[in-house]
């Protein structure tokens, strides 16, 4: 069902998701990318990693996504923050992104953010 209330998943790099970051907010809609380290079928929980940082993904709402360790995945969903600032992304969209140049992706993301900031400031003037 198409809903006007669906927020875009803001792309973030996993190392940006630390408690002091402005993106680290309960319920924030995010898009995360990383290599699948493990998948627990019982809890439908995946762990993705980018560099030295990992993030848990709740995949129970996903359909038609097959999980292979060491493959690259991208998830869109909402961040749930539990005690001790432990975070898990409740995914509503997931896809395999094998072949994605992660370094280029992260560089392009910074350029895209600059453009968005420029657009926002031009709207204010």
């Amino acid at each position: 069902m198409v809903s006007a209330g669906i927020k875009p998943g803001v792309p973030v790099i996993l190392r940006e998701l630390e408690p002091s970051s402005e993106m680290f907010k309960q319920g924030a809609s995010l898009r995360v990318t990383g290599i699948l380290q493990s998948y627990d079928m019982d809890s439908a929980t995946a762990v993705i990693k980018d560099g030295s940082v990992s993030l848990k993904i709740d995949t129970q709402n996903l359909r038609d996504v097959s999980f292979r360790t060491n493959s690259a995945y991208q998830f869109i969903g909402e961040l749930q923050i539990h005690a001790d600032n432990e975070a898990i992304l409740q995914a509503r969209i997931g896809r395999n992104v094998d072949g994605l140049d992660l370094n280029l992706y992260q560089s392009a993301l910074l350029i895209q953010r600059e453009q968005e900031a420029k657009l926002r400031s031009s709207r204010r003037t």
């Binding site: 069902m1 198409v2 809903s3 006007a4 669906i6 927020k7 875009p8 998943g9 803001v10 792309p11 898009r31 359909r63 038609d64 996504v65 991208q74 869109i76 509503r92 969209i93 997931g94 896809r95 992104v97 094998d98 072949g99 994605l100 140049d101 280029l104 992706y105 392009a108 993301l109 350029i111 895209q112 453009q115 968005e116 657009l119 709207r123």
Partner: protein
């Protein structure tokens, strides 16, 4: 002075598209920094899908915004009621049905179409849909949008002061 943009599908990010200036004329028109735009090309992930008898409605998320898109399927209905809107470049019923099958949750799509207003919100009336299997295509689109904005779309319109 920038070239006219109203005849091309401008490559644009969702945030930019959704913040176009809308002129409420007899048929709404859309301005980007004073220049009329009528068609857009987006690349993003399908995050929502609603199939009805006469149309398929879906949302494309490119990381900067979610753009509502509508793909009309009932071309008999269209022909009978709004034939003045159709042109040779509109998809026929068979093409539209085939394109609708590409629209699945989680897929990366390139969507091109006309910028329209529906219930006060900007949306895309889809002309074509391409399934993009290479995830790097989205990255390329981001960079193309930024470059084209800087080198082409942000140039002043022909009538603006300072335009050469």
């Amino acid at each position: 002075m920038g070239p006219p943009l109203h005849l091309v599908h401008i490559k644009i990010l969702a945030a930019d598209l959704l913040s176009l200036t809308v002129l409420q004329t007899s048929r709404p028109s859309f301005l980007r920094r004073g220049r009329t735009v009528t068609r857009a090309e987006l690349v993003g992930i399908v995050v929502s899908r609603d199939r009805r008898e006469k149309f398929l409605r879906f949302l494309i998320d490119d990381g900067t915004g979610c753009v509502p898109c509508v793909l009309w399927l009932n071309h008999q209905y269209l022909n009978a009621n709004v034939s003045s809107e159709l042109s040779a470049s509109d998809p026929n019923a068979e093409m539209a049905l085939k394109m609708s099958e590409e629209v699945c949750l989680g897929t990366l799509l390139r969507v091109r179409g006309k910028i329209v207003m529906y219930r006060g919100a900007i949306q895309i009336a889809v002309r074509d849909v391409v399934l993009e299997k290479d995830p790097n295509v989205e990255v390329l689109h981001w960079l193309q949008c930024v470059r084209l904005a800087k080198e082409c779309y942000d140039l002043p319109p022909p009538s603006a002061p300072g335009a050469t």
